[in-house]
Amino acid sequence: MTTNVDAIVVGGGIHGCSTALHLCLAGMKPVLIEKDYAGRHASGVNAGGVRQLARHVPEIPLSIRSMEIWEKISELVDDDCSFESYGQVLVAENEDELAACRARVAELNALGFVHEELIDATELRRLVPAAADTCPGGVVSRRDGAANPAQTTTAFRRKAEQLGATVCEGAAATNIRHSDGLWHVDVGDRSYAAPVLVNAAGAWAGSIAAALGEPVPVETVAPMLMITSRVPHFIDPVVILRGRKLSFKQFKNGTVLIGGGHLATPYQDRNETVLDWKSLATSARTVFELFPVMRDATIMRAWAGIEAKTMDDLPVFGPSARHKGLYHQFGFSLHGFQLGPGAGAVMAELIVNGGTQTRIGDLGIDRFHPSTL
């Protein structure tokens, strides 16, 4: 039996859930299809960074748009998502790195972006007292912060459902096809048809795009994270490094999350990852050097979420270059969580209004395929 809906969203990550929610707010009735459960992969298990800091220029407008939503997240999803805004700090470990920071902030200022601010050693020490005292400064984005990713993705999913979205979890979208002006998708023994299809399937989105004739250079990656036992509060902002792979965040409950992009081996077909402890040891060494107070904290757990990374580290976001009614929203390349709320809002505008005020032009799939539409 085929059910007609207004839009089919494939993928129950933060992006699919946010798009479904914003489509509902625009008066549409979407169906959200998730092969496992919402937030099962990267969206539910990432570092939770809500970061405008250190982004690629083409995605900064989307990030700023998203930040406005994050700051009122409770109003949107009736859940605070454990969002905290103590800023994010990028630490320069030497003068060369600080010079690069200075150049970066100047570049952004010239483009009219003012969210990144150069800081000296004194301000760094004020923001991050525990940082090793050899660090000469860095960059801060003061409105940034962090949220609980599983809580957030689940909240978006729940709110979308409350507003009328149909949520199908536990069965994959298969047999995706276009006929009679509608997109058709099978889910188990049911079928859905809609004029709009959003491909927000994360690590599984690349194969959907390829099957629809729009292959994209995208790989499946699984960035690793580890978390410590509860320790007394010692740091507020999220810290990332300019020169080495590290992100660092202490939650309200005292646990400290250590990430930064070292990769596990993904086994996508089994929903599994195998951790690379030697790389995690590198993260541990970095923390050991940068935050001496952390040396005898205990590592409780490590994991990795499966997601898609593009060749140029930019998402594939916007309408298809080949098919009417098809939209892509994937390939966020390890930094898609913060973008989720804004990307859903913009995607709904693209679908409902046919355009958006938010500058996303450099993110389209047409950078890989000239438009044939």
Partner: protein, 98 residues
């Protein structure tokens, strides 16, 4: 709560609990020695501060967490006592970087 059997002929070992000397027997785990000492050795949890004592004594419950020779969050039920060992009962979240 517990008493030692008279047949126990193992040599004594002196350890220190929050600075106070207590006598254990060689082969005791830290947790067993603490429970046998008759002292108040309740830790308090990092979450609510609730008092706890060891529960499983076999390494699975983590209610025996204790600081041993300066290293925190050790499972006291898995570590044998050693002469002169310094034990601290953990209260709340364990301080790091002292």
């Amino acid at each position: 709560m517990f008493k030692r059997s008279e047949q126990d002929k193992r040599p004594p070992v002196e350890i220190f609990v929050d600075g106070t000397a207590i006598t254990a027997q060689q082969g005791d785990t830290v947790s067993a020695a603490l429970l046998a000492s008759g002292r108040d050795v309740r830790r308090s949890t990092a979450v609510s501060g609730a008092p706890r004592l060891p529960y499983c004594m076999m390494g699975v419950c983590f209610d025996c967490l204790v600081t041993i020779d300066g290293v925190g969050n050790r499972q006291g039920c898995l570590v044998p006592v050693a002469e002169g060992m310094q034990i601290e009962i953990q209260k709340g979240k364990r301080e790091i970087g002292r």
